[in-house]
């Protein structure tokens, strides 16, 4: 779908990026601006509601969906640096609000305007980074919600392929869940640990300098496990590398 010239984009920062790693949000703004977007960060946004949704609390999830939709009413596009939150907005919002005559159509319209950032940059804006260089080896984990709910697989790889000097290495089980699963990782922590241990082992076997992925939740899980195991792998969100920010501290490093 061709984009309007200079579309007005509302950035949904996501709660984890807001609290834990603001640099991902700034990388998003940078890339969107490079792609020719006018970026705004609506101040009425909070959380997409996924914690409520995944806990079965549909009422609170629907309430947060309405508030998020209202916060992004005037934007041509809503863009997020997370496949998981984007999946919630694209698929769950219309379902949660299907029975609400006032909101059902608005939820569908909102879902149609919402995109995860790497797919937005590639598929909608036709963007590729120019003049980025990073001499490193990296491996990529496909976060599940982005992969299966939104079909994100080729887009981040296309962006990363435009970074000169970056050598990508295949990850065994790249499309297998890392064991994060939102509240799953604390509710069933021992099972989550067993899953992320296998993921960390696979990442270590690649021997890559960097582990890249598109969701901060999964990244925190994998980075936290790799660090606990004493691995030297440095973890970044895909768009941090694409924006030329991998020279700064990786997840868990102090700048």
């Amino acid at each position: 779908m061709p984009a309007k010239p200079n579309p007005r984009v509302g950035l949904f920062v996501t709660c984890l990026v807001d609290a834990i790693r603001p640099g991902i949000g700034f990388a998003a703004i940078q890339l969107l601006e490079e792609a020719g977007c006018r970026v705004e960060v609506p101040q009425a946004q909070t959380c997409c509601g996924q914690p409520a949704l995944n806990s079965g609390d549909d009422k609170d999830a629907a309430d947060l969906a309405r508030r998020t939709i209202a916060a992004f009413e005037g934007h041509d596009y809503v863009v997020l640096p997370s496949g998981s939150c984007a999946g919630t907005m694209v698929h769950a919002y219309p379902e949660l609000l299907a029975g609400d005559p006032e909101w059902a159509a608005r939820a569908r319209d909102f879902a149609a305007r919402t995109h995860e950032i790497t797919s937005f940059l590639v598929d909608v804006m036709g963007y590729r980074p120019q003049g980025r260089r990073l001499d490193a080896t990296a491996t990529y984990h496909d976060s599940c919600a982005g992969l299966r709910e939104l079909g994100i697989a080729a887009q981040p790889r296309a962006l990363l392929a435009s970074v000169e000097g970056l050598e990508m290495r295949g990850l065994e089980g790249n499309d297998v869940c890392c064991g994060f699963g939102g509240t799953f990782c604390v509710k069933y922590s021992s099972i989550s640990n067993a899953i992320v241990t296998e993921k960390a082992e696979a990442v270590e076997r690649t021997g890559a300098d960097l582990l890249l992925s598109g969701d901060l939740g999964c990244l925190m899980n994998m980075a936290g496990k790799l660090h606990r195991r004493g691995a030297k792998t440095r973890c970044f969100h895909t768009i941090e590398v694409v924006a030329g920010r991998a020279g700064g501290p990786a997840i868990g490093e102090e700048g």
């Binding site: 920062v13 709660c15 990026v17 807001d18 609290a19 834990i20 790693r21 603001p22 640099g23 700034f26 990388a27 703004i29 940078q30 601006e33 960060v41 009425a44 909070t46 959380c47 509601g49 914690p51 409520a52 995944n54 806990s55 079965g56 609390d57 609170d60 309430d63 947060l64 599940c144 919600a145 299966r148 297998v176 869940c177 064991g179 939102g182 799953f184 990782c185 604390v186 509710k187 069933y188 922590s189 021992s190 099972i191 640990n193 067993a194 899953i195 992320v196 925190m220 936290g224 496990k225 660090h227 606990r228 924006a243 920010r245 700064g248 501290p249 997840i251 868990g252 102090e254 700048g255």
Partner: protein, 479 residues
């Protein structure tokens, strides 16, 4: 029926410590995953076949009454007796009555998950009838006094090394060697006399064919044929969702079932049983009874779990499930493990007994991706979570925490304030970028470190830099 004593988490933790179990799971599910991938890649029409499979099941489910009556009519015309069981207790009663009226001493049984679901093994023991499991894996399970841990490979939790030890103790004479071929020969010898001496043979059904009244079993061992042919009486137990309109439809689903389960193109043995022995037949049972079991299925017809009635029991969802592959099947505590079991067990055992199952899932969607009849398993698991929340089965602490969070998340100013305080408080616990231990977050920090927040939220930094915004992004970019 099969409700275990411990809770899910305790069972899962015990299984996580079992290193041999992990080896066994990885061997079987790893093989299954690889072989399925190859089989699907070699079958270009797989997506179309999947859509057709789903359509066949949906059609039957939508007209279940029509096809049930058609099946009963045709099975009866072929000489079988059709029985209706509304629940597990009724099914057990019907089957034990048939066995007792026939004065049966020895019953052979071909693998059937429905038999497990209705508690048939126990019921036969209680009635004083000797039961011999004829499927190789079920034979192992019976010798070990266990329950199936997988719907296709019931003994997948045991390594062949463990089975060798088991056979050495239980087989008379013990197998001469530990290689699989010798062990299989030993099991054949052990079972052969039982096959020929049984009074009743009990099988399940992979399909019930409405327009012929036949039941269909598929195996790779041929044990179903030896279970259903020599005894005087053949009893079939089947869930009512096993119906298909015709034999052609059974084959359409079989193409999906075999590839999804084992990666094969066809099962070694595919047998249609249509009524008892007829005049002039060389062999076959004198009586054939078909017990059609509801046990919660018509209830599913009417609610959001209806798509689960499409399930053809291939096991692909569990083979591809990260949780199943860590904890195995027994930890689930129900008859059916894995993603499909996490949807079905609350139907069969009640949600209050099994509320952990739909929650113990990362929602990664791989199960739905491989399901040959496109069952939206994560959506159904989420539906159970919604029910669990509505019925107030969630722990009070979870409800309270989520309630507080939702209250804050509805108020952007309060949310901003909370985040600002939160990230500063978090910094107090870490050093050099990482937090190794955090009160109230032990579930995280017991196993992994938590990245220490940088100190100011995105929103703080964004608002501070908004006046000279272009400069800020430029500076950030050059970092």
């Amino acid at each position: 029926m099969n409700a275990p004593q411990q809770g899910f988490k305790e069972r899962a933790d015990a299984e996580l410590k079992n290193a041999v179990l992990k080896i066994a799971i990885d061997r079987t599910t790893g093989n299954a995953e690889r072989k399925r991938a190859v089989a699907v890649a070699a079958f270009p029409e797989f997506q179309a076949a999947r859509a057709r499979g789903r359509a066949i099941k949906d059609h039957v489910i939508a007209h279940l009454d029509h096809y049930l009556e058609m099946f009963e009519r045709n099975a009866t015309a072929a000489g079988a007796t059709v029985h209706w069981a509304s629940d597990d207790a009724e099914a057990r009663a019907i089957i034990t009555r048939i066995c007792l009226e026939a004065d049966a001493k020895l019953v052979t049984r071909a693998k059937s998950m429905l038999g497990e679901e209705i508690g048939l093994p126990h019921a036969l023991a209680d009635a004083g009838i000797e039961r011999v499991e004829t499927d190789l894996a079920e034979h192992i399970i019976q010798l070990a006094g266990e329950r199936p841990s997988h719907i296709v490979w019931p003994a997948m939790h045991r390594t062949r090394e463990q089975v060798a030890i088991l056979f050495k103790e239980a087989h008379h004479p013990p197998p001469a060697a530990d290689d699989p071929a010798t062990m299989v020969q030993s099991a054949r010898r052990e079972l052969r006399a039982k096959f020929l001496g049984a009074d009743v043979g009990i099988s399940g059904a992979n399909f019930l064919v409405a327009d012929t009244g036949a039941t269909c079993t598929v195996t790779n061992e041929g044990n179903a044929e030896l279970t259903t042919t020599p005894p005087r009486i053949h009893i079939v137990t089947a869930g009512i969702e096993k119906l298909v309109p015709s034999t052609a439809h059974a084959f359409a689903l079989l193409r999906l079932l075999v590839r999804s389960a084992t990666g094969g193109e066809m099962t070694q043995y595919t047998t249609f049983h249509c009524g008892p022995k007829r005049p002039g037949d060389a062999d076959g049972p004198e009586e054939m009874h078909i017990v059609l079991v509801d046990n919660g299925r018509t209830r599913m017809l009417a609610d959001e779990f209806r798509p689960m009635l499409r399930c053809i029991r291939c096991g692909a969802c569990m083979n591809h499930c990260v949780v199943y592959r860590q904890i195995g099947g027994h930890a689930y505590g129900g008859t059916y493990p894995g993603p499909m079991g996490a949807v079905l067990t609350p139907v069969l055992d009640g949600l209050a007994q099994s509320r952990d199952l739909p929650h113990a899932c990362t929602m990664n969607g791989r199960c739905a991706e491989v399901c040959p009849v496109e069952i939206p398993l994560p959506t159904l698991l989420r539906a159970w979570r919604t029910r669990s929340w509505r019925e107030r089965l969630e722990p009070r602490s979870v409800r309270a925490a989520l309630g507080l969070w939702a209250m804050v998340a509805r108020r952007p100013w309060l949310y901003r304030l909370g985040s600002r305080i939160g990230v500063r408080a978090l910094r107090l616990f870490g050093r050099r970028g990482w937090i190794g231990s955090l009160p109230l977050a032990g579930g995280w920090t017991a196993y992994r470190d938590l990245p220490r927040p940088s100190g100011r939220t995105f929103m703080e930094q964004y608002r501070a830099g908004q006046a000279g915004w272009a400069g800020q992004t430029g500076r950030e970019a050059r970092k």
